[in-house]
């Protein structure tokens, strides 16, 4: 499937996405789903600066992404769909049963969040949202880079916490 990865990463477009996943998956398109960025030209300008010339960034609201998801899947170019938070991905999954797997790529420290992995910090309501998503049959794993071991959600949430 050309839409190879559905990833949650609060840094959105950065080196791990562009190089870490971009090169092995031969990504040519990044579908960035964020209601605010989709309406903010200066943010789009900045995110476009972070990708090489042969990579295209498509900025979508959740509604746009739902409407165009089948088009992205049918596209011959390899693509990654990226959201900045769990809520956006959960809204997409609710509308798109075709999303069977979700990758937690980076959710960083903020007041109220507990550390689960070096690159995953979760608040209680975010953990519940992930459990609900898994309950609907979506396979959730944390994996920052392709060379790292994918950590299943159950293992992630069972791990030791540190504030």
């Amino acid at each position: 499937m050309p839409l190879d990865l559905h990833r949650i990463d609060d840094r959105l477009i950065h080196g791990q996405v562009v190089v870490g996943w971009g090169q092995p998956l031969e990504l040519r398109v990044i579908v960035l789903v964020d209601d605010e960025v989709a309406g903010s030209e200066w943010e789009q300008d900045l995110y476009r600066m972070g990708v090489p010339p042969d990579m295209t960034v498509v900025f979508c609201t959740v509604a746009d992404a739902v409407a165009q998801h089948a088009t992205f899947v049918a596209d011959a170019r390899h693509a990654m769909l990226l959201t900045g938070d769990i809520d956006t991905m959960a809204r997409l999954c609710a509308e798109l049963p075709a999303i069977r797997r979700v990758n937690l790529g980076g959710i960083h420290h903020k007041p109220g969040r507990h550390q689960r992995l070096r690159y995953v910090f979760l608040a209680d309501d975010e953990e519940q949202a992930l459990r609900a998503l898994a309950g609907r049959g979506v396979e959730i794993t944390a994996q920052d880079l392709p060379s790292a071991r994918p950590v299943p959600l159950a293992e992630l949430l069972a791990g030791a916490t540190s504030a």
């Binding site: 609060d10 959105l12 950065h14 562009v18 209601d35 605010e36 960025v37 903010s40 300008d45 995110y47």
Partner: protein, 271 residues
């Protein structure tokens, strides 16, 4: 990331740079420049370079209404010390732009989104410009000098001078560009230095490597046929091993083994 339940109106870059910022006093500028050299000193897995950004922006925040320790100062310092990641040298652009955004009194939610959006481009452009461009090019330049007969201390000095002058200049330039552009800094990132620089430096580095390798080998092993044949055989064998190890062993382990082997060779040779 701020909540999606508070969508912001569409904002064009022109409206982001039109606000007059107060002039940045020379003393403040100097404090920031000195602090830029310690931007990674408190690097950690929780906020990465975030506290470093807060440390570097802090002298400018003293100019906020209420001064050092005031309410605006404390809120801005807390905001600027949150998670941030970028290339340490190009982070100077972020420091300048964020200081300007804070002193212009931009809304906190907008500043936070701006910080998030800056990490990606400053990281990827910086990696390509410095780690893939400047560092190898400066190293190959020093090796060319060695191949041409310059003594070892001279080569090391040339490398240190070239690399350090370049990165100090990059930091000073970045701080100035960021401060001038504020939230409209995307246009600065389209500057030829950042757009064309990585590719041109990488090309220059590749060219210098082609010049340096034969010169260095000639100086090390002499120009007898037997010595040259041994050097070529070692190079071919090494290339074969590298191709085999690619993807099997991490690069830094290979580099460590090669460095130790080179040291051992030198010790044996001079014993």
């Amino acid at each position: 990331m701020s909540s999606l339940s508070h969508p912001q109106p569409h904002v064009t870059p022109a409206s982001l740079v039109g606000v007059a910022a107060p002039p940045l006093p020379l003393a403040t500028r100097l404090r920031i420049v000195i602090r830029l050299f310690a931007i990674q000193a408190s690097w950690n897995y929780e906020v990465l370079m975030g506290s470093g950004i807060g440390f570097c922006v802090e002298p400018a925040l003293r100019l906020l209404p209420g001064g050092q320790g005031g309410e605006a100062y404390r809120a801005a310092l807390a905001r600027q010390s949150q998670y941030f990641n970028a290339h340490p040298y190009l982070a100077a652009i972020a420091v300048g732009a964020l200081a300007r955004a804070e002193l212009e009194g931009q809304p906190p939610a907008r500043i936070e989104r701006f910080r998030t959006a800056l990490c990606g481009p400053l990281g990827s452009v910086g990696d390509r410009l410095v780690w893939v461009g400047l560092l190898p090019t400066a190293s190959w330049f020093a090796l060319v000098l060695f191949g041409l007969g310059v003594g070892a201390p001279g080569c090391v000095l040339a490398f240190l001078l070239l690399f350090n002058v370049a990165h100090v200049a990059l930091r000073l330039w970045g701080l100035e560009r960021g401060w001038r552009a504020g939230l409209g800094v995307a246009q600065s990132l389209a500057h030829p230095l950042l757009r064309e620089g990585p590719t041109r430096l990488a090309r220059l580095g590749t060219f210098l490597s082609g010049v340096a390798v034969p010169l260095v080998i000639a100086r090390l092993v002499g120009d007898s046929l037997a010595a040259s044949a041994i050097a070529v055989a070692v190079a071919l064998g090494g290339a074969g091993v590298l191709v085999y190890l690619h993807g099997r062993v991490e690069g830094w382990r290979i580099a460590l083994v090669v460095a130790v082997a080179a040291l051992a060779f030198l010790l044996v040779r001079h014993a």
